[in-house]
Symmetry: C2
Subunit: 285 residues, 2 copies
């Protein structure tokens, strides 16, 4: 029977650590505060926003909501970010993406104060990840996948990891973080031939395809550690990962479930980043 | 008998293309000009400088040398770069590295005009490579290794490539460029276990270890394509790559020699970047 890596348990431990840090900051007169900037009223965004506000409240991080119409101009959005950048009561800024098509995303992400960029949008923060420099912020989903591995007692040094995703929000930053931990990393994608050969010969497989139950047990061995970042709906409308959990769980060494796996950790990474931003502002780090 | 990938032949073709572009630019009144900034008189730097000046002269690119003492301060170097940034007669700036230890390299690389950064030092240009955006400049050695593959009639799409190097001047940028070409990329390094298993199961192997003749034929198959970026001296003081060429050449599909392989292409990439910088200045691209 394979072990299930409990994302909620890991998230709870991270939360406990955050609570302590927030307490320390508040005692020093610094109030960690997240500005959430949402354009339009996409139900997914609203639901995510609610869960962030609830989680922030749980750990005593303040939140401030800034909601604008979807037809806001790039210039107006830049001005708002400029105000939030200057506002010393704001520690970090989370701008929901994807942005509307008429917005110049490159101008916007360059407009965020580097030290408030808790979602790691700014090219200079992303470049730090490329270099293996963790003095900035880390992309939340990539870091959550890494934490799922590191918090399961797995020693990454010398392991082989297949990362099935090459995006800037998951696969590429994750690959760089794995390299910093001395893993040997194979980056796979839709054009990869014989994916099964690669997953079967890797110690750890991280999948972020967004195709429900795509991977069955044939893709793994009894020694595989499977980190499932994918979230989509299966044919019955049920939330599912990239991996057919029922088929796989008893045929691998460890696996993260969906829900209750990497996704549970992701928002905690955002909160960690808010605390880090507040510490930067307070010149404590 | 394996094929030898002729770096000099590839370099000559690139040079012919550069000559045409330089001619076009000069006709329009734009003179591609490379500023070479050297600190101290390291014999390696001086020798590299001479070879660059010779090659620039071959393709009708102008060069200007700026030589300073090794004890120049970070601030003074920033001022010099500031002047070169402003100087409209300079298309691109090449600053020899490694810099003396007392220089703040991070400040320096952020001081170079993004559009004159022909050696791809600036974090914002490196971040573009991370994203797969080639509107900036490419690191010369990484691009040279890519060109060695692309100019040998090898279709990268769907191929597996092992890159044995995780530095910011070779391995990481190269891995990103290979991904943009739809290759499946494994990044290996000193902590990688069972390197032989990985090299033997990859279609293409790019080595940049700097250990003379480290790889013998046991690391490859008859179908391997071997790109040797390493340059060091063997025990007899002879220039050698990471691969034991004599042992390997007849047991693989293709291989680049050292010298006469990737190294021959590298300086051509620098010249391509100077032409690109001149075109940016002339608003032709």
């Amino acid at each position: 029977m394979g072990l299930t890596i409990d994302g909620k348990f890991i998230a709870n431990n991270i939360k406990k650590d955050i609570i302590k840090k927030v307490e320390y900051l508040r005692e020093k007169g610094n109030i960690p505060t997240l500005a959430i900037v949402r354009l339009g009223d996409n139900p997914g965004d609203i639901s995510y926003e609610k869960s962030i506000i609830k989680l922030c409240s749980d750990v005593n991080i303040d939140t401030k909501k800034f909601v604008f119409d979807n037809d806001i101009s790039t210039k107006e959005l830049q001005q708002i970010l400029g105000q939030l950048n200057e506002d010393t009561s704001i520690s970090g800024i989370l701008l929901f993406r994807p942005l509307p098509e008429h917005i110049d995303e490159n101008l916007i992400r360059n407009s965020i104060n580097l030290n408030k960029d808790v979602d790691c949008m700014h090219p200079l923060n992303l470049e730090k990840i490329f270099e293996g420099d963790y003095s900035g912020f880390t992309p939340c989903t990539s870091k959550a996948a890494l934490l799922a591995i590191l918090n399961s007692g797995i020693e990454l040094d010398g392991k082989t990891v297949a990362v099935i995703n090459r995006s800037m929000v998951v696969g590429k930053p994750l690959a760089m973080m794995l390299l910093s931990n001395n893993a040997t990393v194979t980056i796979c994608h839709s054009k990869t031939h014989d994916l099964r050969k690669i997953t079967k010969s890797s110690d750890i497989v991280v999948t972020a395809l967004g195709r429900a139950k795509y991977f069955n047990k044939d893709y793994f061995t009894n020694e595989s550690i499977v980190i499932d970042v994918g979230v989509s709906q299966d044919k019955n409308g049920k939330l599912s990962g990239d991996v057919d959990f029922e088929d796989v769980v008893n045929n691998v060494r460890m696996i993260t479930p969906v829900p209750g796996g990497v996704g549970s950790i992701t928002t905690c990474v955002l909160l960690e980043n808010v605390v880090k931003a507040c510490m930067k502002e307070a010149v404590l780090i």
